[in-house]
């Protein structure tokens, strides 16, 4: 066998990703209208702050303007009117911008310069450093903020710098706290440990690994503080504490406006609007910069999965009674097709058919991304995100679940079809006792009294062989071990006496000894209650342990269906065969493990023809041209491969 390791194609990631990376932060900001508008506004403010005092140097010292023209509204001569001393409002607004913006910048810089390093240090080093900094933070927080500013301003009268620096210091504990709590979870990330093991210095790790992750938080904080500083500064200027009159500032102008409010209500509007727009611009720009920074490295257009129910197939509102078919299958899935995205643009499950008889255990096998879980969840129409059943039938006990009204389907879920998942803890509410949650499930199914439901809950816990079920019922989920939690989840699934249990990787998160016990329990339930099991798994050993038959899936399709022994002894699809061979159980020590080059293609990037052909050693031209149908090479066997006889021939030489 060759020792060269195959180079995986970077599967399914379109070239768009790299264009996103290459564009600069600024360019990407330009694609957001909110960011553009706020940047334009802030740019105007900055230009004005620089230019206005140069253009109208006299305004800062102007005590009075045209005393015969006071408190006038907007006119051609004075575009924004005049104030109570007859000075031009527009000029004062523009000239006052500089002092206002300088003040904001001072406060924001000071609070970030103190708060960010302090928060990073406290969060990263923890222990004594954290406690000492926490103590300092609390001390600062306990000071009456504005009073301190007043005291400082009484020592440095009319000093914008002193006032704003003090404000920055007063605000810094909030920064410290937010940055610290943002740092704590990142401190626990494995890549921090990896960087330490790589011998990188602490300052490098803090700047490059921690700060780079929390930069979004810092930007948003900065925007909030800019707005806070602007408003606070306006208040101080209104009180005449930080700007020596007659120099203009936005706050001072608001003060003038309020003083003249009864005579001329117009005066408070120009500085008020300028302030509001600037505050909004800070907020919008902060949010945009944060989003754009994250967009660079996060995978584009990943939609948050929201648990929304799939709509039934269009037009099929009334569920027609399904005639009993020749086979006595409990569940029969016919040509099931599931798609995601708007208008069902991306198929994730393509033409899947299989059936389960009463009391039978069927394994749904494949690697992640093959559509096993989506298939299982679509049976009870619990699809994540905007997933939708776009075709096919799901016949369960004489009804088509694909177009059953939601109300009736709810009765099927839980009572006729039970579900257990890989993470039993997630399915239990941490705030309630186990017994209470189980009793609730019992009551929704049976309508029993409280007392009877509790007794039934304990009985269910006993039936899954939990030692001391009374005690377990009084426990909270976090007090259970993983194996116990999975038993509780199974007990809950049994509450409605289901005919079919969907078990989605029920033992993947468990230790092998616990896994063996859970599989034993499932087998016992299957035997004693005649319960059918659909077991979703990637572990061949688990399939071999529990199942009677197996359905192998690859890239959204069923590629092989067979009873267990023939499937393991003589797989008739190259994917099944390769996957069985790559199991290290079958490997003889010393040899290279047989492997499949590449990875499972993502939905939307399935190749033409056979989905497996790019990774298949048997692939020929015919495999690439058209979709491959399921063939029936033998009784009760199906394979989606046109070369299954070649495979058959090969096996004779492989099997010892």
């Amino acid at each position: 066998m060759s020792t060269i390791v195959g180079i995986e194609p970077v599967d399914g990631t379109p070239a768009v990703a790299s264009t996103i990376e290459s564009a600069s932060l600024f360019r990407r900001l330009l694609r957001r209208p909110a960011a553009v508008v706020s940047m334009v506004w802030l740019a105007i403010v900055v230009v004005v702050a620089i230019a206005a005092p140069i253009i109208w140097p006299h305004v800062a010292t102007q005590n009075a303007g045209d005393i015969f023209d006071v408190l006038k509204g907007p006119s051609w001569q004075h575009l924004l009117g005049t104030d109570s001393d007859g000075r031009d409002v527009l000029q004062r607004l523009l000239v006052g911008t500089r002092v206002t913006m300088l003040g904001v910048a001072e406060a924001v810089l000071v609070t970030l310069a103190i708060g960010v390093p302090a928060g990073l240090t406290a969060g990263y080093f923890g222990g004594r450093t954290d406690r000492a900094l926490g103590w300092l933070t609390d001390l600062t927080l306990s000071l009456p903020g504005l009073a301190v500013v007043f005291v400082v301003l009484s020592i440095f009268p009319d000093s914008m710098l002193a006032g704003m620096v003090t404000l920055g210091v007063i605000l810094s504990p909030y920064t410290t706290r937010v940055v610290r709590s943002a740092t704590l979870p990142i401190r626990e990330e494995l890549y921090i440990a990896a960087a330490q093991v790589a011998g990188l210095s602490r300052s490098y790790i803090i700047v490059r690994h921690v700060l780079s992750r929390i930069v979004g938080v810092v930007i948003v904080l900065g925007a909030i503080y800019a707005a806070t500083a602007l408003v606070t500064q306006t208040g101080l200027a209104y009180l005449g504490l930080i700007v020596r009159l007659p120099a203009p500032s936005w706050g001072g102008m608001v003060g003038d406006g309020i003083a003249a409010l009864t005579n001329q209500s117009w005066l408070i509007w120009p500085p008020g609007i300028a302030m509001t727009l600037t505050v909004v611009a800070f907020g919008l720009l902060g949010d945009s910069v944060r989003d754009v920074t994250a967009e660079r490295w996060s995978v584009a257009s990943v939609q948050r999965p929201s648990r929304r129910l799939a709509r039934p197939v269009a037009g099929a509102v009334v569920a027609p009674p399904v005639p009993a078919s020749a086979t006595d299958a409990l569940l029969r899935v016919e040509n099931l097709t599931v798609a995601f995205g708007s208008k069902g643009s991306v198929r994730v499950i393509d033409d899947v058919s299989f059936d389960i008889s009463a009391g039978e255990a069927v394994g749904l096998v494949g690697e992640s991304g093959c559509g096993k879980t989506v298939t299982a969840m679509s049976l009870i129409r619990l699809l994540p995100g905007d997933g939708e059943i776009v075709g096919g039938r799901i016949v369960f006990d004489g009804r088509d679940l694909a177009c059953l009204p939601e109300k009736e389907l709810r009765r099927v879920r839980g009572s006729e079809i039970g579900l257990i998942s890989q993470e039993p803890m997630v399915s239990l509410n941490p705030a309630f006792r186990v017994g209470w949650q189980l009793a609730l499930s019992v009551r929704t199914h049976d309508g029993l009294s409280r007392r009877a439901a509790h007794a039934r809950a304990v009985e269910l816990l006993r039936s899954v062989h939990l030692p001391d079920p009374e005690l377990v019922a009084r426990r909270y989920p976090h007090e259970l071990s993983g194996g116990m939690a999975q038993r509780v989840a199974i007990a809950r699934a049994l509450a409605g006496e289901p005919k079919l249990l969907i078990a989605d990787e029920p033992t993947t998160a468990l230790d092998v000894t616990v896994q063996a016990e859970i599989l034993e329990l499932l087998r016992e339930l299957q035997r004693e209650r005649g319960m059918a099991i659909l077991l979703v798994t990637h572990d061949w050993g688990v399939v071999a342990d529990l199942c009677d038959r197996a359905v192998v899936m690859y890239a959204g399709q069923v590629v092989e269906r067979a009873a267990l022994t023939p499937l393991f002894r003589e797989p008739l699809h190259p994917y099944t065969r390769a996957l069985l061979l790559s199991d290290p159980h079958n490997a003889l020590g010393g040899d290279e493990l047989p492997w499949i080059p590449g990875g499972v293609p993502k939905p939307g990037f399935w190749p033409q023809g056979c989905h497996f052909h790019p990774r298949c050693r048997y692939a020929t031209e015919a495999c690439r041209q058209r979709p491959i149908p399921l063939e029936h090479p033998a009784d009760a066997r199906q394979t989606r491969c046109i070369h299954h006889d070649r495979l058959h021939h090969d096996q004779l030489s492989v099997v010892q």
Binding site: E8, A195, E520, W595, I596
Partner: protein
């Protein structure tokens, strides 16, 4: 078993985690000793809570060592200072289990790989670039991976990046902490083959931490089976796998379902049903496995078994290993004739 100068020598390692003032500290690792030779792969096997990951972290200075000694290349590094640790990073590396959390999502693959070289000497930009490209090729990643972010890669590819990062400074010992347990079967095979090939190319030693005995058997020369922080059995990989002596090793091997329906059915019927409890024993000197052991006798609950050497060279911590070994071999002989 170990040659005169082992690369790594761990003696009586004990790690305790504080659990607050009210509760006694949690002893995650309890007097563990083993050594690892050059270019050897030693596997630490056990279930969750067995202390296998903690041992790896203690060697790297990421876990608090309460007692014992860790020597690397003859040098005592148990409580090495921050500065010495940074120097040691050239020789001692790790690949973590979770390829998603172990790469910083905000850093490109190129940045992640090249920053490792900046830790001590600062090679020129061209040299760094050269070495990053060469390493990407070694681990089977496309050259354009350098410019991309971890978010654009699958789990298997990310694990290749993590392996590349560990090998950038050409270390002598790599601790592999369940490097394939988050991966799919076919990808796991790719990564295991890669680890094996790189071991020869870079003359590496591996401390391989895993719960999967099949993976371990494939890769390791020696296996150490841990339970509640103590060594239960320690020996040649093939010997431990095919001829286990300790009841815990036996239970562990029996619990793993094999991908063969008929064989699995036979195994299932003969499997011992172990007790459900997983609580540590009450007596401080008891064998930790006593509460679950099917062969437990009174002596086990009051006296801690020592690590004895069996005739095949395996070390076993069990009071009854002699009886069990003879009964095991008879039952195996019976199984072979059936």
């Amino acid at each position: 078993m170990s040659d005169p100068a082992p690369l790594l020598d761990v003696r009586g390692l004990t790690v305790e985690y504080s659990r607050g003032r009210r509760r006694p500290p949690l002893r995650a690792v309890d007097g563990v000793s083993f050594s690892l030779a050059n270019q050897e792969t030693v596997a630490l096997v056990g279930e969750s809570g067995s202390g296998k990951t903690t041992i790896g972290r203690a060697i790297l200075g990421l876990a608090p060592v309460m007692a014992g000694e860790i020597r690397f290349d003859g040098e005592e590094i148990t409580h090495a200072r921050h500065r010495r640790r940074r120097e040691l990073s050239a020789d001692l590396q790790i690949v973590f289990q979770d390829p998603y959390s172990s790469l910083n999502p905000t850093r490109t693959i190129g940045q992640t790989l090249s920053e490792v070289l900046r830790a001590r000497a600062r090679p020129s930009r061209d040299e760094v670039q050269e070495r990053v490209r060469a390493m990407l090729e070694h681990v089977g990643l496309p050259a354009d991976a350098e410019q991309r972010y971890p978010g654009h890669f699958s789990g298997g590819q990310r694990q290749r990046v993590a392996i590349a990062r560990a090998l950038m400074k050409q270390p002598r010992l790599v601790i592999c902490d369940e490097p394939t347990s988050a991966l799919d079967l076919s990808v796991q095979a790719q990564v295991l083959n890669l680890l094996r090939r790189l071991q020869q190319e870079f003359e590496l030693s591996y401390l391989f931490i895993s719960h999967d005995l099949a993976v371990v058997r494939y890769l390791a020369h020696r296996i150490i089976v841990l339970y509640h922080g103590r060594i239960m059995e320690h020996g040649d990989a093939r010997e431990v796998y095919t001829n286990p002596t300790h009841p815990y090793t036996l239970a562990l091997l029996d619990a793993v379902p094999v991908p063969d329906p008929d064989l699995q059915q036979r195994r299932r019927t003969t499997r011992l049903r172990s007790a459900l409890t997983n609580t540590p024993p009450e007596h401080p000197n008891a064998c930790p496995f006593a509460p679950r052991c099917p062969h437990v006798i009174n002596h086990c609950t009051t006296s801690r078994p020592s690590l004895d050497t069996t005739p095949s060279g395996t070390l076993v911590a069990c009071h009854r290993w002699r009886e069990l070994r003879s009964s095991n071999s008879t039952s195996q002989a019976l199984g072979a004739t059936n």
